[in-house]
């Protein structure tokens, strides 16, 4: 069954077509238009790990399109604690739903579920592996701001080692000919395997430990959270994390149209002073999760989005 496990499951043409679909669905996501394209369909939300934005935006996307959602609920009270295998869980949920969104702490769980299921699986994050639906909303946000995905200078900063978001995104950016710069402390560098893959695709990859030097040339700065638990002691954490913080005063020389993105939640890496600058894009980015996931669910369920959604939809 087709699903979305990694960005390799989509061609560049399919990505663009999904972004176009997402664009059309903006008034539906905003609640300005009622368009029940997925009425009668049920989404199974299987989040084996905590999630706020991903789970809620999947749920919102399905409900805005007239469908319904069933949730796994708290893993601690589900049959998973009784030792149920992922295979068995998927067999069961597969019978209840038309499509499944899943997050799991084990890498490869999404592909495993996809091989076990009859309904499409959407990977909402598997360990430190992939997070392609986040990538779709990231690409949507970038295209919305710059009108194109091609040839942009994108700086990915912070925890590039464990952050699955930046793994999926960097692959996608390279496919559209973007120049990627990785700014991270040495201990949180992008895994060599991924850098090698990107170079194999012909990308020029710059790796640095200095974020501030990269600001003026960037079209996009994608910040990620540096997690305290990755460091042996608090002092070391404070030293490293301090170098990957953005403050409004750091942006004086930035290009006017440069955007700052963050998959959220942020802790200290973007100072609230940045929120009121023209560069702040992270809350819009979080909202875009709804349209990106709406478009994706329609595509996986083979539901065509009308060219003119305004005349196809009704008033709420």
């Amino acid at each position: 069954m087709p699903g979305l496990i990694t960005m390799d499951d989509l061609t560049n043409e399919e990505i663009i077509s999904l972004l176009d679909d997402a664009e059309k669905l903006l008034p539906v996501a905003r609640g300005e238009l009622y368009l029940p394209l997925l009425q009668g369909r049920i989404l199974g939300n299987l989040f084996f790990e905590p999630s706020t934005r991903t789970r809620m935006s999947f749920e919102t996307a399905m409900k805005r399109l007239g469908g319904d959602v069933v949730n796994l609920g708290d893993v601690k009270t589900s049959s998973v604690v009784k030792g149920e295998t992922l295979f068995d869980t998927i067999q069961m949920v597969d019978g209840y739903t038309d499509i499944i969104a899943m997050r799991h702490p084990r890498q490869g769980a999404a592909q495993y579920a996809c091989d076990s299921a009859r309904v499409p699986i959407m990977n909402g994050g598997d360990g430190a592996g992939h997070h392609p639906t986040q990538t779709m909303l990231d690409l949507f946000t970038i295209r919305q701001a710059h009108g194109t995905l091609e040839g942009l200078n994108v700086v990915l900063a912070g925890d590039l080692r464990y952050g699955r978001t930046v793994h999926s995104l960097s692959h996608a950016l390279v496919r559209f000919g973007c120049n990627v710069t990785f700014a991270s402390p040495d201990s949180l560098k992008m895994p060599e395997e991924i850098v090698a893959d990107l170079k194999e695709h012909g990308a020029e990859v710059v790796e640095t430990d200095n974020l501030l030097d990269q600001i003026n040339g960037a079209d996009v700065i994608y910040m990620t959270r540096i997690q305290k638990e990755r460091f042996p002691d608090e002092e070391e954490y404070a030293k490293v994390a301090g170098a990957y913080k953005l403050h409004a005063r750091d942006l004086d020389g930035a290009k006017a149209e440069m955007i700052i993105m963050h998959p959220l939640p942020r802790v200290n890496e973007i100072h609230p002073s940045v929120d009121s600058t023209r560069h702040a894009c992270y809350f819009e980015q979080a909202f875009n999760g709804v349209v990106a996931r709406m478009a994706l669910m329609c595509w996986l369920l083979d539901v065509k989005i009308p060219e003119d959604v305004n005349s196809a939809g009704g008033v709420l």
């Binding site: 992922l86 890498q107 490869g108 360990g127 395997e193």
Partner: protein
């Protein structure tokens, strides 16, 4: 030393399987991959690090009274993809077999990445390692996508 002399290091076998041209030092891994252990009743002869015109040095294994199947031999692609295999019947070569490295190595070994979903031994789907490069050999787990540690795979044989 000639090929003939190498083969004479151990006696000719009447019936069974001869695996020749194993990369020097890999014979023990080959036995492990075939599940051949010390307590089995078939006689097994093994020579290691003998001179070879083709390879410089090589290992040879002779397993008596057992004809290894193509499926069993294909497991060897992970350590000895260029080995030559002969089935012996009544002291003569009855069949020559080739080891095939297929596009995917299925249910031979478990993924070596500790956080892969397949490390849960109760998950029932087959273990699938995709061949991403033949020379040098590189395999990635179908599920987690991690490049496999080839030495670690020998500890993860199924």
């Amino acid at each position: 030393m000639s090929q003939e002399a190498n083969m004479r290091r151990v006696t000719a076998i009447k019936n069974g399987t001869v695996i020749d041209h194993i990369p020097a030092g890999e014979a023990l891994s080959v036995l492990k991959m075939l599940g051949i252990e010390g307590y089995m009743s078939n006689p097994v002869s093994l020579v290691m690090n003998v001179p070879s015109k083709k390879m410089g040095a090589k290992d040879i294994i002779k397993v008596e009274d057992r004809e290894l199947t193509q499926n069993e031999l294909d497991r060897l692609a992970l350590v000895a993809s260029d080995a030559s295999v002969a089935i012996i019947r009544a002291y003569s070569v009855a069949e020559k077999l080739e080891i095939n490295l297929t596009e995917e190595v299925v249910n031979v070994a478990r993924c070596t990445f500790s956080n892969c979903i397949t490390t849960n031994h109760r998950e029932p789907l087959p273990h699938r390692l995709v061949v991403t490069s033949r020379d040098p050999l590189e395999l990635r787990c179908r599920y987690c996508g991690k490049t496999q540690d080839l030495e670690g795979l020998l500890d993860n044989l199924l």
